[in-house]
C-alpha cells in the first residue's frame, strides 16, 4: 500500500502555499465577483463574531473565517437546480450559493424572516430557491441525504448534481463510508466536499485518524478524488468545475478534499476556543495563507486592481452587512403557533 498518498504533506504545512494565487487564464470579472463573495462571507462572519461577543446572539455559531475560498469555488459551477447540503459550519455554503445575508442574519437571531423561518438558527439553514437543501448540526447527518438527492437527480435524468460539505471529523462517522459506497455502486452524481481543516472541535486530526489525508477513504470506495489547497480559490474552482462537469455527464461521484484552517475556535467568536492541542503558532502561520489576501495580491500583481479598489469593495460589503444586520435585528419572532404548526406538513 502506498502510504505516501495518505499524507497531506505540504498541503498541511502553513508555511507553504502562501504566495499570491496563480490566476493565469482566469476571467478577471469572475475573479472579482468571487473575491467580493469571499469578502462578503468574511465580513458577515466577522459581524456575527462581534455580535456573539456582544452577547446579542444566543444561538451557537460556528464560524468558518479563513475557509471562504471553498464554498465560493465550489458554488461557482452549481445551478439552482442542484442540491447542496451543509452541516454545522455552513454560513459560507449558504451565502456562496446566493443566499440572502438578511435571511441568514435573521435566522441566526431566530426571527420569522430567517431563511429557516427562525426555527433553526445558525446550525439549521435552508435556502430552497438557491438550491441549498439544508444544513444541520448532527455530524455527518446530511451526507446520506445528499446521496439520496443525487439518486433523485439521476432518476430525474436532467444532469443536476448533489453536493455535500463535510469535515475531516465527519469522516469518522460510519455513515460517511456507507454513503461513499452507495454513491460509488450506484454511480450517483454527488460531490463530497471534505473541508479538511485538521480539527474536529479541539482534536487535531493526528489524534483521531492514522493519517491526515481524508480522500484516501473515497479512493478505497473507488471514487475519484482530488486533494487540493482549500485556500486557493482558483484551484478549488477549477477542480470542482471539472468534477461537476464530469458528474453532469454521468461520471458518477467525486470527492474533493480541500485543505484549510479555521481562524476562530470551534464554536463562538474567540480564536482560542480549542484546547488539547496548542493552535496559536499554527494559526498565526495559517493566517498568512489567507485565501482573500492571496487573491487580492494576485489581482494587484496582474494589474487593473489596487488597494483603493479593494477598499471600495470592502466598504460596500460592510455597508451591506450592517444593513442586513439591522434589518434582521428588528424582524419579528415566529408566532407562537409555529411551535406546533411546522411539525407536520398538513397543518399549514
Amino acid at each position: 500500500m502506498d502510504m505516501d498518498s495518505f499524507e497531506l504533506g505540504d498541503l498541511a504545512n502553513p508555511r507553504c502555499y502562501t504566495e499570491p494565487l496563480d490566476i493565469g487564464g482566469c476571467d478577471p470579472v469572475l475573479l472579482r465577483a468571487q473575491l467580493r463573495m469571499m469578502l462578503l462571507i468574511r465580513r458577515v462572519e466577522e459581524k456575527i463574531g462581534d455580535m456573539l461577543a456582544a452577547q446579542k446572539i444566543p444561538t451557537p455559531c460556528h464560524l468558518g473565517i479563513g475557509q471562504e475560498a471553498i464554498a465560493v469555488g465550489v458554488s461557482e459551477y452549481l445551478r439552482p437546480t442542484d442540491r447542496v447540503f451543509g452541516a454545522h459550519r455552513s454560513h459560507a455554503h449558504f451565502l456562496a450559493l446566493g443566499g440572502e445575508v438578511t435571511a441568514l442574519m435573521a435566522e441566526i437571531l431566530g426571527r420569522d424572516a430567517g431563511c429557516s423561518r427562525g426555527m433553526g438558527g445558525s446550525m439549521h439553514l435552508w435556502g430552497g430557491s438557491v438550491g441549498f437543501f439544508g444544513s444541520v448540526p448532527i455530524v455527518a447527518g446530511t451526507v446520506p441525504l445528499a446521496v439520496g438527492a443525487a439518486l433523485a437527480a439521476k432518476k430525474d435524468g436532467e444532469s443536476a448534481v448533489a453536493v455535500v460539505y463535510l469535515g475531516d471529523g465527519a469522516a469518522e462517522e460510519g455513515s460517511i463510508h456507507e454513503s461513499l459506497n452507495l454513491a460509488a455502486v450506484w454511480k450517483l452524481p454527488v460531490l463530497f466536499v471534505c473541508e479538511n481543516n485538521l480539527f474536529s472541535s479541539h482534536m487535531h486530526i493526528s489524534l483521531r485518524q492514522p493519517s491526515n489525508r481524508v480522500a484516501r477513504y473515497a479512493e478505497a470506495h473507488c471514487i475519484q478524488a482530488a486533494t487540493v489547497d482549500g485556500n486557493d480559490l482558483v484551484v478549488v474552482s477549477r477542480t470542482s468545475d471539472d468534477m461537476v462537469a464530469a458528474m453532469r455527464d454521468g461520471g458518477g461521484p467525486r470527492f474533493l478534499e480541500v485543505v484549510t484552517y479555521r481562524w476562530r475556535g470551534h464554536v463562538g467568536y474567540r480564536e482560542d476556543n480549542d484546547v488539547g492541542v496548542n493552535r496559536s503558532t499554527d494559526l498565526t502561520l495559517w493566517k498568512r495563507r489567507d485565501p482573500i489576501r492571496r487573491l487580492v495580491d494576485a489581482l494587484t500583481m496582474a494589474g487593473g486592481w489596487d488597494n483603493h479598489a479593494f477598499h471600495a469593495m470592502d466598504e460596500a460589503v460592510k455597508t451591506e452587512v450592517e444593513k442586513a444586520w439591522q434589518q434582521a435585528e428588528t424582524a419579528p419572532y415566529p408566532p407562537a403557533s409555529a411551535l406546533l404548526d411546522r411539525v407536520y406538513a398538513e397543518r399549514h
Binding site: S116, M119, V136, L151, A345
Partner: protein, 342 residues
C-alpha cells in the same frame, strides 16, 4: 356488501403487495429501497416479483447499510420523490435512528415548514421462530414517542393495503409497521379509495358493553379473536384497533371506556414507556376515575429480551388465552353488570 363493488380475497402479505403495485403504477415518483427486495424470502409474499415488473431501478435492493439507505430515501424525498425504505426487521433499524429521528422527524420543523421529507419507512415486525433477541423486536413505541413522525400499524389486509398507500401519499415521514404474524390473514377487499393519512385514526372494530379491548397490529387481531371467544362466555367486549400510533387518537377508546368502564390494552412489545401504558395514561387523564369500574389492565411482553428456545418463546408472547383469562378476571372481579357512576 354493496353490489357493484368488486371484492377480491387477498391475504395481508399480498395486500401489501397490492399497495406497492397501486403506487408504482400510478405515481412515477414512488420507488422502493431496502434489503432483500430481489430475494424471495426476506419480506414474505409482500413484494413478490416487483423488481421484475417495475425494474431494479424502482425496486432497489441495497448493500447492508441501513443508515445510509434510510438517509438517502430521506434525501430523495426532499427532491420530490416518495421513496419507501424497507427494513425486513425492525431490529436492523437501530442503525438508522439518526436518519429517522434526528433528520426525518425534525426536518420540516427545523427548516420552518418549508420542506417535508415525504418518506415512508417500512419496518417489519418479524418475531418468533426461535430467532432470538436481535431478530424479534417491535419498537413502535419509540417512534410513537417522537413528534414529527407518523406511525401506522395495520391489523387487517385492507389496512395493510390502504394505510401503505396513505403513508406514501402523505407529505410527512411515516413509519409503516407490518407484522409477519398477520401475513396469512385473509379478507375481501374493495377497490382502493385513496384517503389522507391525517384523517385516519383508531376504529371500533367490534361492539361490546362489558370491556374495552385495545390493540394495534397483531395485537388488534388478538383482541378481535379474544372478543369472539369471550362472546361464548357471555362477555361482551368492544374492540378498538388503534391503527395510527402517532399522532395517537384515543377518542374512540375514551368513548368506549366511558361505556364499558373497563379497559384492557394488549401490546406485543414491552410494557414500560410502551404503547399500552400510553393508552391507559390517556384514558386515565381524560376520564374521571369514577367512570372506571376497575383498574385498567395491560397485557404486554415480560421485561426480558426475546428468548430463542421455542419452549421459552411460548411463555414469552401474549396469547389468546392470556387475554381471555385477564379479561375474564377483570370483568368478574367487578361483576359483569356493574355500571359506572358519574
Amino acid at each position: 356488501m354493496q353490489s357493484g363493488i368488486d371484492m377480491a380475497r387477498v391475504n395481508y402479505g399480498s395486500a401489501i403487495r397490492e399497495a406497492f403495485v397501486y403506487l408504482l403504477d400510478r405515481y412515477p415518483k414512488v420507488f422502493v429501497i431496502g434489503q432483500g427486495l430481489w430475494a424471495k424470502w426476506y419480506v414474505g409474499n409482500s413484494m413478490t416479483d416487483l423488481d421484475k415488473f417495475y425494474g431494479t431501478e424502482r425496486i432497489m435492493d441495497s448493500p447492508v447499510s441501513e443508515l445510509a439507505c434510510t438517509g438517502a430515501a430521506v434525501g430523495a424525498s426532499l427532491c420530490g420523490y416518495r421513496p419507501i425504505v424497507v427494513h425486513p426487521r425492525m431490529d436492523f433499524m437501530l442503525y438508522a435512528m439518526d436518519a429517522i429521528v434526528n433528520q426525518a422527524a425534525k426536518w420540516s420543523h427545523m427548516v420552518g415548514g418549508q420542506a417535508h421529507p415525504a418518506v415512508t419507512i417500512r419496518g417489519i415486525i418479524n418475531r418468533g421462530g426461535e430467532q432470538g433477541a436481535q431478530h424479534s423486536q417491535a419498537l413502535h413505541a419509540w417512534f410513537a414517542h417522537i413528534p414529527g413522525l407518523r406511525v401506522v400499524m395495520p391489523a387487517t389486509p385492507q389496512d395493510a393495503r390502504d394505510l401503505l398507500i396513505a403513508s406514501v401519499l402523505c407529505d410527512d415521514p411515516v413509519l409503516y409497521l407490518d407484522d409477519r404474524w398477520l401475513y396469512e390473514l385473509e379478507e375481501d377487499l374493495p377497490p382502493v379509495v385513496e384517503c389522507p393519512l391525517e384523517q385516519e385514526g383508531s376504529r371500533v372494530v367490534s361492539r361490546g358493553d362489558d370491556v374495552t379491548l385495545v390493540g394495534a397490529g397483531y395485537s388488534a387481531w388478538l383482541c378481535r379473536e379474544a372478543a369472539a371467544a369471550l362472546q361464548q362466555r357471555s362477555i361482551s367486549a368492544e374492540v378498538i384497533d388503534l391503527r395510527v400510533l402517532n399522532p395517537l387518537d384515543v377518542s374512540t377508546v375514551i368513548q368506549s371506556v366511558e361505556k364499558t368502564g373497563r379497559l384492557c390494552v394488549v401490546d406485543g412489545s414491552w410494557s414500560s414507556c410502551g404503547l399500552a401504558g400510553e393508552v391507559i395514561a390517556r384514558v386515565s387523564e381524560t376520564l374521571s376515575p369514577r367512570k372506571l369500574l376497575g383498574a385498567p389492565v395491560r397485557i404486554t411482553l415480560p421485561d426480558a429480551p426475546a428468548p430463542t428456545s421455542g419452549f421459552l418463546e411460548k411463555l414469552y408472547y401474549p396469547t389468546l388465552d392470556t387475554i381471555m383469562e385477564t379479561v375474564a378476571r377483570l370483568v368478574i372481579r367487578e361483576g359483569v353488570h356493574a355500571k359506572a357512576v358519574d
